[in-house]
Amino acid sequence: MNKTIANAEEAIKGIEDNMTLMLGGFGLCGIPENCIAALVKKGVKGLTCIANNAGVDDFGIGLMLHKHQVKKMISSYVGENAEFERQLLSGELEVELIPQGTLATRCLAAGYGMPVIYTPAGVGTEVAIGKEVRKFMVDGVEKEFLMEYAFDADYALVKAWKGDTQGNLIFRGTARNFNPMMAMAGRTTIAEVEELVPAGELDPDHIHVPGIYVHHIFQGVNYEKRIEQRTVRKR
């Protein structure tokens, strides 16, 4: 079952204006650089993007914002981006801020076929407005939870370290973050990997995302992997 395709351009062929996309990554760590570049090149517009962050001015989803391709962001944190701020204040861009754990778990729910999940995050805050609140017993105490819906995204664009031709994925370090759940959640999932190997080369015990969740896979090129906050200590 070979899911290999040539490159990002081919991978995103089916992505059209006004679709909903998930994009993996935390900050600039583990983002699908090749797919983002191809989306910018293609120029699709009116996109709703589900991604933890919105990139920086000249990298990541920031590149798509710069081309006015994004209609709405669903994120947990969107700092570090002046163009984002400008579009938000001017009303060009819609933003829905949700707790980071809610974002992750709504992806998990989609991938695991759960229509909704309950989380205590946001109870009693403006995040709870318009949402069902329900009490459950936790450790013998009644606690309030919000009902949150599984995401429904046309495409998930994820980045893994290694992958095989069957679509099995392995991540490295904290570049894993949202990528596995988004890979499981997309109606169509595109995985770009630093190294694509033949089926059978990855240890089946080490697969983070089984290929059944992945529709297209390709080996990315020219990864920049930009560091957002370079912090070091002296020797």
Binding site: F26, G27, L28, C29, G30, N52, S75, S76, Y77, V78, G79, E85, L88, L89, L97, P99, Q100, G101, T102, L103, A104, T105, C107, L108, T119, P120, A121, G122, V123, G124, T125, E126, V127, D139, W161, F171, R172, G173, T174, A175, R176, N177, F178, N179, P180, M181, H208, K225, R226, I227, E228, Q229, R230, T231, V232, R233, K234, R235
Partner: protein
């Protein structure tokens, strides 16, 4: 009066051997530097790591290895990576023993506001709402008063809330307090700070019970 390092040092004394700890951005991050020698704790970073180590040596930064503040970091032996769903799964199921985070306002019923200032660009709550909603033990590192001298320990938060009735303890430049059904309870004074000063700087209900000792920091 404590500086930021002082607040971090005082909070470090709250950490017990064997704790899994999540440190927020800002003063909480500093706490890692003052954990008593010989104590075995594990730092959780909600972007998917247990066993966070110090910043890397220059030239050894790894773009695939960052903390929840997007800073380059290292790992310690015995660490584990996982995805964001599991990360918040362990937070929600209260496996993290202690969460330390900053705040703009705290109420005397334990409400916390730390993510949004109306009229200013809103960057988002990140993982803060998840952390405060689930943590079994939350310590807040914050300034007792703002630059205008107004108290940030209130009867009721004025800023949009991050969580309700969740804060257990507060360490400020002036004092250590915990939250009781009767309001803030003063536990310790910062070196050189009088009970009167703390009283004046606290808008919410404040319980002062007997002699209030001065903090001991290293």
């Amino acid at each position: 009066m404590l500086d930021k390092v002082g607040i971090a040092k005082r909070i470090a004394k709250e950490i017990k051997n064997g704790y899994y700890v999540n440190l927020g951005i800002g003063i909480p991050t500093l706490v890692a530097n003052y954990i008593p020698e010989g104590m075995s704790i594990v730092l959780q970073s909600e972007n998917g790591l247990l066993g966070m180590g110090p910043f890397p040596f220059e030239g050894e930064e790894n773009p695939d290895l960052i903390n929840a503040g997007k800073q380059t970091i290292t790992i310690v032996p015995g660490s584990a990576f996982f995805d964001s769903a599991m990360s918040f799964g362990m937070i929600r199921s209260r496996k993290v023993d202690l969460t330390i985070l900053g705040a703009m306002e705290v109420s005397d019923t334990g409400d916390i506001a730390n993510w949004k200032i109306p009229g200013k660009m809103v960057k988002g709550m990140g993982g803060a709402m998840d952390l405060v909603a689930s943590a079994k033990n939350i310590i807040v590192a914050m300034q007792h008063v703002n630059k205008a001298g107004e108290s940030k320990l209130l009867t009721r938060c004025e800023l949009p809330l991050t969580g309700v009735g969740c804060v257990k303890k507060i360490v400020t430049e002036l004092a250590v307090l915990d939250i009781t059904p009767q309001g803030f309870r003063l536990l310790e004074r910062a070196p050189g700070v009088s009970v009167e000063e703390i009283k004046n700087a606290t808008e919410g209900r404040l319980i002062i019970d007997g002699d209030i000792p001065e903090m001991v920091i290293d």
